[in-house]
């Protein structure tokens, strides 16, 4: 059985500060089926981290744990130096982690502003607000600004998501993550269903997130895209994180080798 290096042991001494997110020794099993064992990741401020791996390598399980969809069996997650327990999506949201799911998690029947503020609606002014009424005007204004700021093109803030194209939906989902993700945004296959131009736009959005000081984790199968947008990349294989490398110094061939097991990593995680 190929054995990846234990990334945590090497990483931990140097990470006391400077890392936005530290996940260490994460393990998750479904019955007898161990989905991931000993998965780890360190995320710096304002960087884009790629997460790659073959099908079944455990990427999505790792993501689900980081986004609170599934609690981990073992391991620790630290956000800005503080231990956190992520048991539900709400926990992750509270910890400042926003996730853009592959299916986007947009409600088709609602409009852009309503979707962006879903679950965190702005209250109406005065008494009505106290009774739980919401203000669409406030929300629309905020979303309008955000959308302008991000250069997202949406036909109308009142149009339902149903009437939007794939790229517009993706942009909207990312915009939502930007608005709420104070520290970390996780993107699961953000370009998988998109055309060329839409893909370019989404990649651009990701860079803008980084420029705003947000740390981004991108799961992707597309090595070229990752090379365009990511700073570092973490490789998973057979339920483990085998290595993390600077993307600039890693060739696509090396990455594929790491993913498939043809290349056994011989160095520890890249130094900060």
């Amino acid at each position: 059985m190929p054995h990846g290096l234990d990334t945590t042991s090497a990483a931990s001494p140097a990470t006391a500060n400077g890392y936005v997110l530290e996940a260490a020794g994460i393990r998750k099993a479904f019955g007898a089926n161990v989905a991931i064992s000993n998965a780890s990741m360190n995320l710096r401020e304002a960087e884009v981290m790629g997460l790659v791996g073959d099908n079944g390598a455990g990427k999505s399980t790792f993501l689900k744990i980081l986004s609170g969809s599934q609690p981990a069996d073992e391991g620790t997650i630290t956000i800005e130096g503080k231990r956190v327990e992520l048991r539900t999506p709400a926990d992750a949201l509270a910890a400042g982690i926003e996730t853009v799911y592959q299916d986007l998690a947009l409600v088709d029947t609602m409009d852009a502003a309503q979707n962006v503020f879903l679950g965190r609606e702005r209250s109406a002014a005065g008494l009505a607000g106290l009774f739980g009424f919401v203000s669409d005007r406030k929300m629309r204004a905020e979303v309008g600004e955000l959308v302008k700021d991000l250069g997202v093109n949406i036909p109308s803030l009142r149009a339902t998501v149903r009437s939007m194209s794939g790229g517009q939906r993706q942009s909207l989902a990312i915009a939502r993550a930007v608005l709420w993700g104070r520290r970390i945004v996780i993107l699961d296959e953000p370009t998988a269903a998109l055309g060329v131009r839409e893909t370019a736009h989404v990649l651009d959005l990701i860079r803008r997130l980084r420029d705003r000081g947000i740390s981004v984790i991108v799961v992707s199968h597309n090595m070229q895209q990752l090379r365009e947008v990511a700073d570092r990349v973490t490789v998973m294989r057979l339920g483990r994180t085998v290595t993390t490398r600077d993307i600039a110094s890693t060739s696509v061939e090396d990455l594929i080798g790491l993913i498939t097991g043809a290349v056994i990593p011989d160095e520890t995680i890249s130094t900060p």
Binding site: D111, S156, R158, A159, T160, S163
Partner: protein, 357 residues
């Protein structure tokens, strides 16, 4: 493109619609009436309420009423409420707004009758009810309890002759939704049977209930027959021919050597080839001919001389039941023919068609 509607716009639409409706109604309220015929013009208008479309006689009753009204130069407004109280209430409103001079009909949505009575009374509209008594409405109909008893006695005599009153099981085919009519007819028939054959034990009387369709009555009767496997002589009574026939069919399906005989009521099937030979008899009420009786009251009302209120089966206008055996029933013409003849002659169905009068 604004797919999400704006609440303000909706409010505007609603307000506009309300205003325009109000304006329209205000404009036209001066000359309301008209369509369907109202009585403002001195014409005598009769509201005819039809319970539904479950049996042929329901519409035939309206046909006869219309024919008799035409004879007199009156107008009719025929409304059907499909056994539904809220539609019944709507019909009542319509008739009141049309200012009809009187209302006749089968009022089977009994829960809503008291409220309807209050409203008709307030509007000064006299009402004639068929078969189901209501305080304040003229009663026209069969004395169901007495009629049930007559049927039971005729049935009892037949059973005395055939089985010497040795009956193990008496099935009562109820239709509880028909309310008091069911209790009186079905209960009365059982009572009449018992008066001829007093030795039938109380435990031999067992009931099934149906919504008046064979599809529901047949399994109910079948299960009840199954639950009484040891009965050798089975008698069936019921509110109508359909319920009795369902039990006869069920016994036929179950097989076995038990004998079964039935006696229906209302004459719905008796005399036709859909009736089992084991249905010995039934009673014609000539329901299609009820308007002949109610129009006698209407004649007095139209003449400005309404009769004294008689609103129970005890003091109302009673229609004699026509108790017949299956053989006698074969001579009675079909419902369609009877409807036509009564409409033309304005005579009682009993006088025209009852072979045993």
């Amino acid at each position: 493109m604004h797919i999400k509607y704006s609440f303000r716009r909706v409010a505007v639409i609603v307000a506009a619609a309300a205003l325009s409706l109000g304006a329209l109604s205000a404009c036209s309220s001066g000359d309301s009436g008209g369509a369907g015929g109202s009585s403002d013009d001195g014409d005598f208008t009769v509201g005819v309420l039809v319970a539904g479309h479950d049996a042929p006689w329901e519409e035939q009753q309206a046909d006869v009423a219309t024919a008799l009204a035409e004879k007199r130069g009156w107008t009719t407004i025929v409304l059907t409420y499909d056994n539904d109280p809220s539609t019944f209430t709507r019909n009542v409103s319509t008739l009141i707004s049309k200012k009809v001079d009187a209302v006749v009909g089968f009022m089977v949505a009994t829960g809503a009758n008291a409220a309807a009575q209050q409203r008709f009374e307030a509007a000064g509209i006299p009402v004639i009810t068929y078969d189901i008594a209501q305080d304040g409405w003229y009663f026209v109909g069969v004395d169901n309890a007495a009629s049930g008893k007559l049927n039971g006695e005729a049935f009892g005599n037949a059973l005395k002759e055939k089985w010497d009153c040795d009956v193990d099981l008496v099935l009562e085919g109820h239709q509880s939704a028909a309310g008091a009519v069911d209790e009186q007819r079905t209960g009365g028939e059982a009572e009449g049977l018992l008066s001829v054959c007093p030795d039938i034990p109380e435990s031999a009387f067992q009931s099934f209930d149906s919504d008046g369709t064979a599809a529901a009555a047949q399994p109910a009767a079948r299960n009840l027959l199954t639950a009484n496997p040891n009965a050798k002589h089975i008698a069936v009574v019921g509110i109508n021919d359909i319920n009795v026939q369902a039990a006869l069919d069920a016994q036929n399906q179950l097989g076995g050597d038990a004998e079964i005989l039935g006696w229906g009521q209302d004459g719905g099937l008796i005399g036709t080839d859909a009736a089992s030979p084991n249905m010995l008899g039934s009673a014609f009420y000539f329901l299609e001919g009820y308007p002949h009786y109610s129009f006698q009251i209407l004649d007095k009302i139209a003449a400005g001389n309404p009769p004294e209120m008689a609103d129970t089966a005890a003091n109302g206008l009673l229609i004699p039941p026509c108790v017949v055996t299956a053989a006698e029933a074969a001579d009675v013409p079909s419902g369609d023919e009877r409807t036509k003849e009564i409409g033309e002659k304005d005579e009682a169905g009993h006088d025209l068609f009852c072979p045993t009068k």
